[in-house]
Symmetry: C2
Subunit: 402 residues, 2 copies
């Protein structure tokens, strides 16, 4: 078949030529391949000492700035730094050494906020998309995919009976789950007001943290269930029949009590569908911010269900202005008293020193003290950030089911 050979040799040649030119732009109308081969720009480049160089080619721009979640902000305005232009129109900036973490950034190109065109790794947070990278070091090594056994991450739909719908959740099952017959304990992990069932996996690096802690022998193999705490949505933006809408942070369900009131359906589905140890000693629940409030009320309303409770930068009540609060919010002190009398192994509270909810934690810790409820309090640097929530998760998980 001479023609086939000729064509395939040409194709091979194109492949090799293209391979040498590293950067490819596949957006063409007729073909999904592009061999234009622009020279490759590396951005960001993380150096051994955790300084990081950012690069953007923008010859026509008047000003390019870098904004990142490690830069001090002024109020709600993110901090930014001016980048320097070379004679070819390449803008660069090298940072000071950064902390060991997963970090987020954008470029401001003449004040238009964009993701880094040379970095394909991005994470959505509510209605914004950020470029991400990881620095070196001990803490971020927990966030990396390392050469260790990996769990399975599933997106599945459960029957939320009390809400009359099916809803999406993300489930991590540990390495060995598929080949073992053993039942596993379960951690229920709840997101904040800006999140959904993707948040703990994408921004939270939950599957990496669990894989790594389990491989190091520091955590027991466990199932982690990540729900969607916005009961007015069935799933994360783009993953429900609402289509590709523009996400907003505050949905009408916030403070409605619906998530707390319907949580039993989540537990029932998980115990029915996965090989769980369906008892109090094998259940943990933790949440951040709004999810911390959910955690507090869910565990108090199901007061003999969880032996491990974690509040990460927790809000207390998201809407206390209602004159007729939902029943899940009624008689909290009585419910906590019952929870205390039933007993639990760990009530863990994490809070950042500069968190805008810091005073809230002072108040609910005072409540717990008054009621004689034991808890472990962990105060970290920083505020209401994913940096802290990943840190809290990595400290909380080793204490579970021991």
């Amino acid at each position: 078949m001479p023609k086939t050979n000729m064509i395939m040799k040409l194709f091979s040649k194109i492949l090799l030529t293209a391979a040498m030119s590293a950067v490819l732009h596949p957006l063409t109308a007729q073909q999904n391949l592009d061999f234009s081969g622009k020279p490759s720009i590396v951005s960001p480049e993380v150096h051994a000492n955790n300084t990081v160089t950012f690069r953007l080619e923008a010859p026509e721009a008047k000003e390019v700035r870098l904004t990142g979640d490690w830069l001090p902000s002024e109020g709600w305005t993110p901090g930014s730094l001016k980048m320097a232009r070379d004679s070819n129109g390449l803008w660069t900036l090298t940072t000071e050494p950064l902390r060991s973490d997963l970090l987020m950034y954008n470029f401001l190109i003449d004040s238009v906020r964009i993701t880094d065109p040379n970095n394909v790794y991005q994470i959505r947070d509510v209605s914004s998309v950020f470029s991400i990278f990881m620095t070196n070091g001990e803490q971020s090594s927990l966030y990396r995919v390392n050469d260790v056994p990996h769990g399975t991450v599933s997106r599945t739909w459960y029957d939320a009976k009390q809400l009359g719908r099916t809803r999406r959740m993300t489930v991590y099952t540990p390495p060995g789950y598929e080949t073992s017959n053993a039942p596993y304990p379960v951690l229920y992990l709840l997101h904040g007001v800006g999140g959904d069932e993707e948040a703990w996996i994408s921004l939270g690096r939950t599957s990496q943290i669990l894989d790594n802690l389990i491989a190091q022998g520091k955590a027991k193999p466990m199932i982690v269930v990540m729900t969607n705490g916005h009961t007015s949505n069935d799933a994360a933006p783009g993953e429900s029949s609402k289509g590709l809408y523009k996400p907003v942070m505050f949905t009408p369900d916030v403070g409605s009590g619906d998530m707390e009131a319907s949580f039993r359906d989540v537990i029932d589905f998980v115990d029915r569908t996965y090989r769980t140890r369906a008892d109090k000693a094998s259940r943990a629940i933790a949440g951040l911010s709004m999810g911390g409030s959910h955690t507090l009320f869910i565990s108090a309303n199901l007061p003999n269900t969880f032996d491990y409770i974690g509040l990460f930068s927790a809000a207390y009540r998201l809407d206390s202005s209602k004159t007729n609060p939902p029943a899940v919010y009624d008689d909290l002190d009585k419910k906590l008293k019952i929870q205390k009398d039933n007993g639990y192994k760990l009530y863990w509270i994490g809070m950042g020193k500069t968190d805008f909810l810091y005073r809230t934690a002072v108040e609910y810790r005072r409540k717990f003290d008054t009621l004689g409820m034991k808890y472990t309090y962990r105060e970290s640097e920083g505020g209401h950030t994913w940096s802290n929530w990943r840190l809290y998760l990595s400290e909380f998980v080793p204490q579970l089911f021991q």
Copy 2:
């Protein structure tokens, strides 16, 4: 607790204020919330007649262009259209009515290619990230998340024994899998040279196509297994211990025969781990471009394993220049003869009229004709595009396991 109440009322008030301002920028160093509340720009806006309006606020830009995969390209250079600036610096463009599909685009802001900052829905294709949207109509309704029962999508790691490593795959199990005891047939679905185990889920909309076709009674419930065809990678970029590197299209494994030679390990893992019907009548395999070549050789080398074979815009041999080709490429005609004599139910070939591999398909169709192998040939408009591969999948799947 007056202080808590005060703080929480203030928080409630902030929440309400912020809720009214729809767009939030959570990137701040100290807090993960931002209440700056810039006015919301909607982009893209898909109108009822499938015209689409794009908007970008860029007061300082000299020129903003739109590039999209529906625009005619010149050679490998994507087509683009100039957008119009209003007096406030808002650039807009409204398209002609577009086809019913999932479509990809970028903005060129003074020649810097960016994703749309007002659209959080993006898909990576090799080393580029594109903003996406969906138009209305019959074909794209298969790509939407509709109010139908949903399958589960899992990312899991299998023991690739012949390659001596564990590798990542994506598995779709149909609605009802968790609650039934029935075994299911399996479709193995392979990606092209630019893809990985995420490609058929993200660009291919496989879970939506399957959910919708099953709900309409047009497809049998089946498991779909999406592998990573680059044997020099264990997983998609960012999902392996290689870290957050810049992806390239052409890895050293292309044409090595390793994927074809080691595919038995994939089947063994799937039959061991999932509730499959582990017989030829219940197995299908299909692939696009490089994955089409993989499909041809895998099914010919395991000639009594698949009753359904699909070649979507298939390449033939990715590297026929080697003087000592791997054994999986040896004696193809003999192997095809055995496959033919063993029998199969469907050999389906899809190809676009303007595909750069069009002549290749002419050649392997001629080979099949010479060998007396029956096949169904489907010629579509257009070329080597995801638009065609989604179309082919939606036409191929209803013919399986009937």
